[in-house]
């Protein structure tokens, strides 16, 4: 059973066992949480990363995902600068997983990160306020599939065509059933009001007259895209009732013109301000809105914030970069030395043994 399936089961179970189930006029149900994680999507994970998870309360994450793209728009390098703010006193010890090949302290860090296989390791003590900032190098092949925007760049004559597609879509079970328009409007208002709390937003209940069903729907995190090609700037919002793609044609673009796109997951303002007009569709509207908020929050955690209810923000910066040369296969020098010396020893041994046998036979 998937996580979202379990979530739906939990919501339906909440319907059945809600304390005021017998209250006149309906049953309170738990609406989808804004902490729902849909798949596929971030945060990045890694196999076999375990260990202690300990941090002072209130840890927050802010990250900048730096995506180097080639002349066609394909990601060729991926770095993440993650700043974790520890606002209180206490020990901390945790790992941040992902396909991480290297890590170093970023400017402003009060401590040095460690590197485990596919994880950043933080461990120490916060005397009341501490910043843990790391610049991680990721293997783009493994991590690029979790990026929110697919970019393609083409050139026709002196015109540069930049296309972007919001690829945050994931399927999720949406509650379906009747809900009073007042209840729906109230739930949307509360969800909007709690946006500032991020993943710490409290759960919301709604009272329904009949046990809801579920339907699998596509959920998309809206993206705010600020672009720049040479001197030309542009802005799009992809999703939240708007198209999921854009195409920008930049005439007379220089051959070496750099493309820069700053992508920020945005809350579904339009969806949250929709006035429910049909009671039969009101519950699915609210559920879809809350799952969209969840999807947006999910993309603010490209690298995980170990504090699941801590505030997290992320911006994705796509910038044309030179394709780096394929790394050479690295073999630890002592290993190769030892294998050569083993070869040599075996070879000499065979020759020596042969000589000894000949000598012995002729003696």
């Amino acid at each position: 059973m998937t996580r979202t399936g379990r979530l739906l089961g939990f919501c339906v179970a909440a319907c059945a066992f809600a304390p005021a189930a017998s209250a006149a006029g309906g049953t309170p149900i738990l609406l989808p949480s804004v902490r729902t994680t849909l798949t596929p999507g971030p945060p990045l994970t890694a196999a076999n990363v375990s260990g202690e998870v300990l941090y002072p309360p209130g840890m927050m994450s802010d990250q900048k995902v730096l995506v180097g793209i080639d002349a066609a728009g394909k990601p060729v390098s991926l770095h993440v600068v993650q700043r974790l703010e520890l606002p209180k006193l206490g020990d901390y010890s945790f790992t941040v997983p992902g396909p991480i090949s290297d890590v170093e302290a970023a400017p402003g860090s009060d401590s040095q990160p460690g590197l485990r296989r596919d994880a950043i390791l933080w461990s120490g003590f916060s005397a009341g306020k501490k910043t843990l900032a790391a610049r991680a190098t990721l293997r783009p092949g493994a991590a690029a599939s979790r990026l929110p925007l697919r970019v393609s760049i083409a050139r026709g004559g002196d015109t540069l065509v930049v296309r972007g597609e919001n690829v945050t879509t994931a399927r999720a079970p949406v509650l379906v059933g009747p809900l009073s328009l007042t209840e729906a409007a109230k739930a949307l208002r509360q969800t909007h009001r709690y946006l500032a709390l991020g993943a710490a937003a409290p759960d919301i209940y709604a009272t329904v007259r009949a046990t809801p069903l579920s339907r699998s729907e596509r959920i998309v995190a809206p993206l705010d895209v600020q672009g720049q090609v040479g001197d030309e700037r542009f802005h799009y919002v992809l999703g939240d009732g708007r198209p999921l793609r854009f195409e920008r044609r930049v005439a007379h673009a220089r051959k070496d013109a750099k493309v820069r796109l700053v992508v920020t997951p945005a809350p579904p303002e339009r969806l949250l301000q929709t006035q429910p007009r049909n009671a039969e569709r009101a519950l699915s509207l609210v559920a879809r809105a809350r799952l969209t908020v969840a999807r947006e929050l999910q993309f603010h955690n490209f690298l995980a914030n170990p504090n699941p209810t801590g505030r997290s923000t992320a911006a994705y910066v796509y910038e044309t970069a030179k394709r780096s040369a394929a790394p050479k296969a690295v073999t630890p020098s002592h290993d190769s030395d030892s294998s050569w010396s083993t070869f040599l020893a075996v070879g000499l041994g065979i020759v020596g043994a042969g000589t000894l046998v000949v000598l012995w036979a002729n003696s």
Binding site: S50, S93, G114, F125, S363
Partner: protein, 402 residues
Amino acid sequence: MRRAALLLVVLALAGCGGGDKKSAGKLLIAVDAPFSRSQYIGQTIARGVELAASEVNVGGVPTPDGNYTIEVKRYDNALSPRKALSNIRRAISDGAVAIVDDGTGVDAGWQAANDAHVPIGITYDGGGGLVDLETRPNVYRIAPTNRGIAFRLAEYTIPKGLKLALIHDDTTYGQQGGASLDEAFSRNPESVATKLTVPSGDSDLSPQVLRARRAGATALLVWGQASTIAKVVIAARSAGWDVPIYATPSAEDPVLRQQLADRPQWLDGLTFATGRMTAELGPDFFYAFESKFENAYGAQNVGVRTRGGDAVIAPPDYAMYSYDFVNVLTQALKQFGVEDLVKGLEQVTARGANGDERGFNQHNHEGVVDDDVFFARFHDMTYAPVADDPLSSTLPTIKQTR
């Protein structure tokens, strides 16, 4: 005759393979420590290793190559790097899978161990340069680093507005500590009144302490053997100078309290930096470890008493580090086996004796982070965490009397 000679040559060639690391279902851990010259340090390190080994051996170590038990062998380096190098070579020849070292033999012996793919775990000396990820990939450490201690001392003393006399003795420990202090105080030269190197062999340090006083020092920071700290305390207090004195983890050594046993009030107020014994989870883990340690070896008597007549004991905090190293090593053996042990140590953790996670990683072979240094102050021959440091103020006082 000729045939016999040739047979001998063949047999000699056959015996050139070196020690087998996995003989008869046993894995050897070598302990290279100064058992004859500094018995407290040597015993502490070895007992930590032996205690961990005895626990691990209950179920054995299931490695990818089979199930093994751990055997521990002691090698006395007598604080001599040359002796330590010889020990490390012997240990490799004996088939050791890992070497636990106080630090004495690392500069001289890491290369020999690295050539044999044998990791070295330092569990006492915090000297900078002993551990170097790039040039010494097989060297790991679970002990507070000199760098961490020096920076924490600077962080603690500078805001007090003191003019410090930085004193270190001429031992390797003192000289390395002096270098770390220079680095830590380099951005605040106004906090340093003078820097002095004192001979560890001298019986009286009054002239040096007088120089510090004349240089305008309002506090003394001593980095040296416990006997050096004792001599500085005696020189200052016997001259009637009630100056605050700060010191390093060597102040925990029973020798300091033994040398001040007839004037216990002179020790009161001496503050030293050392690795924390307890984690945020509380003192229970450490007490459990201490209890196991005492059941196996008895309490570590300091040899002095409080004013109330209670016998003072030394908590086995440095034994905890060697105990933890063996447990991390065991996890690496379980997952990566003997052949990949040097790299495998970077990928595992183990629950430490104080409840903390212990482990290393690909960027850091230090198992004690610089933050994990706290300050303790002596009173009545025992010490307790200070209240004017954010970390220390959160720590409980470990019972030190019986």
